[in-house]
Subunit: 212 residues, 2 copies
């Protein structure tokens, strides 16, 4: 009787079908070990099933990987079109972008390194298989900065450098997380707090540099 009730409670949760459990497990393993380092056995173990069932749902490793990678890409290139195209000031846009982007990555600290690493390992495959118009957001933002410079609202800066400065300061600390933690002798909690601070520190730093 207890078993039935437990089954009911557990199985009705959306992500407790085998399929969903596999995807969750695959995400965890792939993000940690990458395509080459992850083994199907690891994923099966993590999902609490066996390899055969894994292949039943996803014919091979590549298909499963591509699924996870595509999902990771969507998170890595967020839809910030709303923010960029709204008519709030450039400073506010920078503030919102840094805050929201760091916040998203905090949910998934491994994500940036995972994506950038896999792209690096095989840029051609990436370009052919996954790249489509990811540069739109970038162009809009750069355009925006250019306009503000011409209006004389901010100092004359090179938009491309400003843009990558912003991205760098938001993302890099996650990529360097383990080394940074060793270097500064901090634990998970303290790192989390450090990144919490950066949600405002980064935009303050940028605005201080470009304001007139």
């Amino acid at each position: 009787m207890l078993t039935i009730w437990l089954n009911y409670m557990v199985n009705n949760k959306k992500d407790d079908t085998s399929q969903e459990r596999i995807l969750l497990a695959a995400k965890k393993i792939f993000l940690q070990k990458g395509m080459a380092g992850a083994r199907m056995q690891d994923i099966a173990d993590e999902a609490g099933i066996n390899k055969a069932l894994l292949h039943y749902y996803f014919r091979n490793k590549e298909i499963l990987f591509d699924m996870i990678f595509l999902e990771a890409l969507k998170q890595f290139f967020p839809k910030i079109t709303d923010v960029v195209q709204s008519d709030i000031s450039l400073f506010e846009k920078i503030e919102i972008f840094c805050r929201e982007y760091i916040d998203m990555m905090q949910q998934n600290a491994y994500l940036p390194l995972f994506v950038l690493n896999e792209v690096n390992k095989d840029p051609v495959r990436f370009k052919e298989k996954f790249w489509q118009n990811k540069n739109v957001v970038f162009l809009k933002f750069v355009e925006q900065i250019d306009t503000e410079v011409k209006r004389g609202k901010i100092k004359s800066v090179n938009p491309a450098h400003l843009f990558i400065n912003m991205i760098s300061m938001c993302i890099f600390p996650f990529i360097a997380k383990p080394i940074w933690m060793m270097t500064t002798n901090v634990d998970e909690m303290q790192f989390r707090y450090f990144m919490e601070q950066r949600k405002t520190e980064v935009s303050k730093f940028i605005i201080e540099s470009i304001k007139k």
Copy 2:
């Protein structure tokens, strides 16, 4: 006769012994594919020899990898003690650091992603095997910033954030190189020029933000 002369010219170059060719090949392959993704066959092919000879010089993959990784670490954590400890102004130190660090990475654009990725995959192994006092430079620099703040030479900034901002802006563009090139539609030459600009742009950006 010609053959003898050619052999003489070629073999006398330090890096044309099999050993040196292997190390060069291993560096190229490991930096691109990482420990898990690289195969001994790839390295042998790249060096123009066969697997057996590879194992003759380096008993196993791990030994070869560690050799390359240690060399990469030395480049990634440069000895900037001289710069930091000299008695030039903080602004000049920042200028020199950014210029020299970007310059070093330009020689080896794959290096940062390689190091950070391998550390991430197995932080414990890294800490036990390779980590020794890499944090000294960091502490010196932070100390320095703190002093300048107290002297009232620069705005009151958090040294840790300032430090990682600087590192981020120097290193990240190399890590994101393939994606950045696709996004902005530039080729190798143009990327090189972009990074050339950054040798001065980054420090200017920082100083603009912290100067009083």
